[in-house]
């Protein structure tokens, strides 16, 4: 009997709780009861309340009264397959260039109404009409960046200027990181071998797979943020913007882009074709393009902004950073392009094999 009573008590508590919440939202301004669902990458928006920063999502909610559900995905590939599998209702996603190109090709992205996004005029001209969206109908650039080698100078004393260091046997193997997704990892191996990151030559891709098998890597994505600054890893390829972020936690970290070339990318904001809240999404995109919001995100994250109004008011140190804003962009820096399905399948199968043998 006691048990039944306590069970009922717990149950009533639960319902009381939900009752409070639901009454809250119905009394709020958002009478339409629509929610904006955002799916971003981890650590890819300012969520800090420290000096000079503000929580961007919270600010948007306060200013507009629109309720936001904020989710993250780990890689472009996960985002793609989650959307393909259905059952998700994202209103805004942040895919990279090659992935949004693939999504546009497969009719997964809605055309934007740029009348609702007046702040688009802040975008620097060279980021308009990019190769993945030649008429600029679907996407608004969020950040751009490059991949480089990040290493801990307290553990690595030699000069680093090529991908070869990732295959070095001078370090305990699990101290060397590698991207835990086929596209980025293959790109590094392909570039090391002197091939294009966008190759569709199966022999070259198989050769790259053999290259990746030669080292016992620690395959990570967002774990990078824990491993690199804490000394849990000595060397690893990652994004320039994240280097500036982890540098604040550990001053021994250094960043270098290999002479043989690297990957340069744009990440965009866009609206999935299935979204029912395109107008709210456009309102959010416009908000993100505002100078103050962009400054907050850019200074917090360290990624490179394609937004002139934001760049103009950035901290001088960041503005002059070779890491974030390289003075020249050599031809060896390649943007990813969409690969044919057959090549994606091949890469994925080789990848499964690589990771399962990484003992």
């Amino acid at each position: 009997m006691k048990k039944i009573i306590s069970f009922l008590l717990v149950l009533s508590l639960l319902f009381a709780g939900t009752g409070i919440f639901s009454s809250c939202s119905s009394d709020g301004e958002n009478a339409k009861n629509r929610k904006l669902v955002i799916c971003n990458w981890g650590e890819y928006i300012c969520d800090s309340d420290e000096d000079g920063f503000f929580d961007v999502i919270k600010k948007f909610e306060e200013e507009t009264g629109i309720e936001v559900e904020y989710l993250t995905a780990e890689t472009n590939e996960t985002l793609y397959s989650t959307m393909k599998a259905g059952g998700v209702n994202y209103d805004i996603i942040f895919p990279s260039d090659y992935m949004v190109q693939r999504m546009i090709n497969e009719d997964m992205i809605a055309e934007l109404d740029f009348e609702n996004i007046p702040n688009f005029s802040n975008i620097i001209d060279r980021f308009k009409n990019p190769y993945y969206d030649p008429e600029n109908k679907y996407t608004v650039p969020y950040f751009w960046g490059t991949v480089g080698i990040i290493y801990n100078t307290s553990m690595v004393s030699e000069e680093v200027n090529s991908w070869d260091i990732l295959w070095s046997d001078q370090y305990p193997p699990n101290m060397i990181l590698m991207f835990n997704n086929p596209r980025d990892a293959f790109a590094i191996a392909l570039n090391k071998l002197g091939y294009s990151m966008n190759t569709v030559n199966e022999e070259q891709i198989k050769e790259a797979a053999e290259e990746l098998k030669k080292q016992k890597f620690n395959f990570v994505m967002d774990e990078f943020f824990e491993l690199m600054p804490s000394g849990g890893a000595a060397i690893g390829p990652y994004y320039a913007g994240d280097y500036l972020d982890v540098l604040q936690d550990n001053e021994d970290l250094a960043f270098v882009r290999p002479e043989s070339g690297t990957n340069i990318f744009n990440d965009v904001m866009c609206v999935p074709a299935a979204s029912k809240n395109k107008d709210l999404a456009e309102q959010f995109i416009n908000f993100m393009l505002r100078a103050d919001v962009g400054k907050c995100n850019t200074e917090y994250l360290g990624y490179s902004t394609p937004n002139q109004a934001v760049y103009d008011i950035l901290d001088e140190d960041l503005k002059n950073s070779e890491v974030a804003y390289p003075s020249e962009i050599p031809e060896t820096w390649e943007y990813f392009e969409v690969l044919p399905d057959k090549i994606n399948d091949l890469m994925n199968e080789l990848w499964v094999d690589i990771v399962s043998k990484n003992k």
């Binding site: 989650t82 393909k84 890469m347």
Partner: protein, 267 residues
């Protein structure tokens, strides 16, 4: 009549969340990307046999370790004061209140280079530890994660054994080792079998633990990669899941046979 009506919600639940997904797996395993019937996906099985073997090995070792750790613990627990038993129960369940991924991340921080274990070993002049990114690390993760599922069923079955049966054995001249071997052990077989099943099945299909702690992928991670990787190959993923299910079914059938046999022996 009444009892059948009460079964209705669960039947609906089963249909939606168990039976339909099973058929979907079956459907994808034997179709190609356009939806036409094909046996082509069978080609994925031989390619991944070594990964199945790795996974089974990890599952078997982890289950054995769980059993060795859990059985004495369950016996000791069953003989404790009631209040102590409740507290022990609580302590065993407590970690499960935390998110699974969070607990694995904690293990990474313990085992990784220059992690917590290394700094403790460093104080005594040992280290660095070499556990991170080995099969041992996966086994540690799996045992840590699934140990409660072994302890609780064994504890339940041991504590149900009537005190008088044990006393009768002692009266008839059994020493304590024989009491354990001839009375407690046989009578706790149902608990052991449940425990083994509840550890072995999730251990065989485990993922995240393997990649994060062991550095390489087992069959769970591989299936995940087929579903979530850029190629979105649900067909391959489904075929591999299907094979895993068959392997687990066979293992469970073997276990259950063992269970029934022993039960008959007791009666």
């Amino acid at each position: 009549m009444k009892s059948k009506k009460l079964l209705f919600p669960y039947t609906v639940w089963m249909a939606i969340f168990v039976v339909i997904p099973l058929f979907m797996v079956l459907y994808y395993a034997f179709t190609d990307k356009s939806g036409a019937f094909t046996l082509e996906n069978l080609q994925y099985i031989p390619k991944h046999l070594p990964i199945y073997w790795d996974s089974l090995k990890v599952a078997l070792i982890s289950t054995a370790i769980c059993l060795i750790l859990a059985y004495p613990l369950a016996l000791i627990m069953a003989n404790m004061k009631a209040s102590m038993q409740r507290m022990m129960n609580m302590l065993i369940m407590l970690p499960m209140w935390m998110n699974f991924i969070l607990r694995i991340c904690a293990w990474v921080i313990i085992l990784r280079p220059n992690g917590i274990l290394d700094s403790i070993l460093g104080v005594f002049g040992f280290g660095p530890n070499t556990i991170y990114h080995t099969t041992t690390a996966i086994v540690i993760g799996v045992v840590y994660n699934y140990l409660p599922f072994m302890v609780l069923p064994i504890y339940t079955s041991v504590s149900k054994i009537s005190r008088s049966v044990i006393e009768a054995g002692e009266d008839l001249g059994c020493n304590s080792f024989n009491v354990l071997r001839r009375i407690i052990l046989p009578m706790s077989i149902p608990g052991i079998v449940t425990g083994i099943t509840m550890v072995f099945v999730p251990a065989a299909s485990t993922f995240v633990i393997s990649l994060r702690l062991g550095g390489y992928s087992l069959i769970g991670d591989t299936i995940d990669q087929y579903y979530k990787g850029g190629s979105f190959n649900m067909q391959a993923g489904s075929m591999l899941s299907l094979v895993l299910m068959v392997i687990i079914l066979i293992s469970m059938a073997i276990m259950n046979r063992f269970d029934n046999g022993e039960d008959a022996g007791i009666v």
